[in-house]
Amino acid sequence: MNACNTPPLDSMELLRFSTAGSVDDGKSTLIGRLLYDAKSIFEDTLESIAHTTSKRGQNGLDLALLTDGLQAEREQGITIDVAYRYFATPRRKFIIADTPGHEQYTRNMVTGASTSDLAIILIDARKGPLIQSRRHAYLSSLLGIHHLILAVNKMDTVNYSSDRFHDIRKEFEPFLKKLGVPHLYFIPMSALHGDMVVERGDNLDWYKGPTLLELLETVPVNPVAARVPGRLPVQLVCRPQSGEYPDFRGYMGRIESGMFKPGDPVTILPSGRQTRIRHIYLGEKELSEAIAPQSIQVTLDDEIDISRGDLIASNENTLPNPIREFDAMICWFSEAPLDRRRKYLIKHANRTVKAIIERIGYTVDINTLEQKHEQTIQVNDIAHIHLKVLQPIMAEPYRDNRKLGAFILIDESTNLTVAGGMIEKA
């Protein structure tokens, strides 16, 4: 980073985005280009890359080497697991979840996409959208990502042809529209030569839209979470019972959506008891308002029996229903297929309860989106299921509220995380 990139201390926002693809799509080169042109690669890292490049008998700088972390990945030239990378411009700080493209590592791609606000999907201009591009687009939409950038890369190999770019767009758009992602952006680029990544370059004058970095700097960050009703799942109860605070009873948690102010009327779920927010604290400070995703502590006007896993919900809109059964889409992660004899635990918004998978509706062929009727669920399957839980959870559909609609399944005997799920109807 250089001096002009010194970020102003208190005004920068954070954008998390994921990139999906394989080394052969030019994904690593793209990330390398983004970091290199944004001046976020350090000299000693460059030196070590130059050293490895020449050790392999190649010339120059293989920017792709930047993005592979594990020994096995460098040996095989593939991405196995998510790597997180960081860079900043004067406007924003970015966290990149660099995810693998191969089908067998779908679970790792889903890990990276689950916390992202935006996804970049790479398309090789020569090849157009592949089955893999469709899979990445589908998984990104399934995980509720609202901004999808289709980076049509390697434009240098098709003479920077605008016809080729528009053909690819025409071919892919109907599929993407079917997925219902609210914001789609197509950008032609050459990561290798740096056109339309950070700089505009001289080769794509016919393209009038933003460069990749301009888009990353300007898409709205998480506006949805702030507009939905206030939800605060209780994580811990604070009762210091010290001389200084004999009767203090605070409820700690992270606001998962919306905002809260002192005086706001709230409902405690599942009990349904009504009260008001008295104070909001962050460390020593008392706040006049707090918004998602702040981790705060609140006190309430009334003494009510509240424990971890209960939900403090603002009264302004409809309240989530405590539910005991629901439909969900899940992504299965475990090498061991779903076994109905096994007990699974569901972890949802600070509540961990026993769960039974009652029905498998269908599994989705993630390459064609066709539904198949299967008796069981295997590793990397996306499946529609019906679940029952032993105690109620306070859920909302994932498309309305990512945090109250998401859950994981844990195998009680192995402790492994076997699936991630998104609630459809609550």
Binding site: M12, E13, D44, G253, G420
Partner: protein
């Protein structure tokens, strides 16, 4: 209707507090690794903010190489007293004396800490250890989960990590296994200094520019001390330097700097062209995979 936006530091702080509270809620016997370095100072502040007006509900632990800078140990003890926290110290020297590990001449004690750390985890039956590691430090760390599972031998299996979706952390372990938990995974060196400035946190004086006798060895500066004695041909020079990391005195290198407060350091960090570990840790230069290998064995 307009909406307040959180800054990137607000967001990172919130994420870290959420993680710290999650461990307190779900793990039976957590511990926070505290060395007196800047990352663990930030960790300690986050833990304090997470539980106020209550106290931090777990002990702190330092795996002491006894190759530490005296300023850091003095700072460590003072900070622990201020917070009325409980500090456990386990010594690498003792592991050497009792034959648990063998110290090779010329080797730093950073690697040797692994055995002492794993022994202490077993001794106290900790099921979760907070660490201040950041993903921007090193490429193996960039791959590690926030809740990083360790088997009964304390080992990390990078090819078989638990999927970690949203902020739904699976904290469950069997007896003998444990979690390493990294609440500041997503922070960069610059974020750490901005937070130190915003929160007005005190850090050991050697993070700021000061005069010190140094020698040049293998292309790096080394501080002269009882552990670094100039060899024939090496002439100590008095220079104005500061440390970007504080660790084993025998292999932690200062950088030439005039940065005298957190503001100066932020400017300097924003402009620097060398990574934190590349500049300051001789032991990380050994190979492309030295951190990955150490982490697999149970290192921080």
């Amino acid at each position: 209707m307009s909406f307040k936006h959180l800054t990137h530091l607000d967001t990172l702080e919130s994420e870290a507090i959420h993680i710290i509270r999650e461990v307190a809620a779900e793990c039976k016997n957590p511990v926070l690794l505290f060395s007196g370095g800047k990352d663990s100072i930030v960790m300690l502040r986050l833990a304090q903010k997470a539980f106020l007006p209550g106290k931090i509900p777990f002990p702190l632990m330092h795996i002491d190489t006894e190759h530490n800078f005296p300023e850091v140990i003095e700072f460590r003890d003072r900070r622990v007293n201020e917070l009325e926290a409980r500090l456990i110290v386990r010594s690498v020297q003792k592991s050497i004396d009792t034959g648990r590990v063998i110290e090779k001449p010329g080797q730093s004690r950073n690697t040797l800490q692994t055995t002492t750390l794993l022994d202490a985890i077993e001794e106290f039956r900790f099921d979760a250890c907070f660490g201040g590691a950041r993903r921007d430090e090193e490429k193996a760390r960039a791959k590690e989960r926030i809740f990083s599972f360790r088997d009964e031998f304390g080992q990390w299996d990078p090819r078989n990590q638990r999927p970690e979706l949203w902020d739904l952390y699976n904290t469950r372990v069997h007896p003998g296994e444990h979690m390493r938990v990294f609440p500041i995974s997503n922070w960069t060196e610059l974020d750490i200094w901005q937070y130190i400035l915003n929160e007005q946190l005190e850090v050991p004086s050697l993070y700021y520019a000061h005069e010190r006798d140094v020698i040049e060895r293998n292309g790096a500066l080394l501080p002269v001390s009882h552990l670094v004695i100039p060899k024939p041909g090496e002439t100590p020079r008095r220079m104005t330097v500061r440390f970007r990391t504080v660790g084993d005195m025998s292999c932690t290198c200062p950088v030439i700097s005039e940065a005298r407060d957190a503001n100066d350091i932020i400017l300097e960090t924003a402009m620097t062209r060398i990574t934190e570990r590349g500049a300051t840790r001789m032991d990380d230069k050994t190979s492309d995979t030295s951190m990955e290998l150490r982490k697999k064995e149970g290192y921080f």
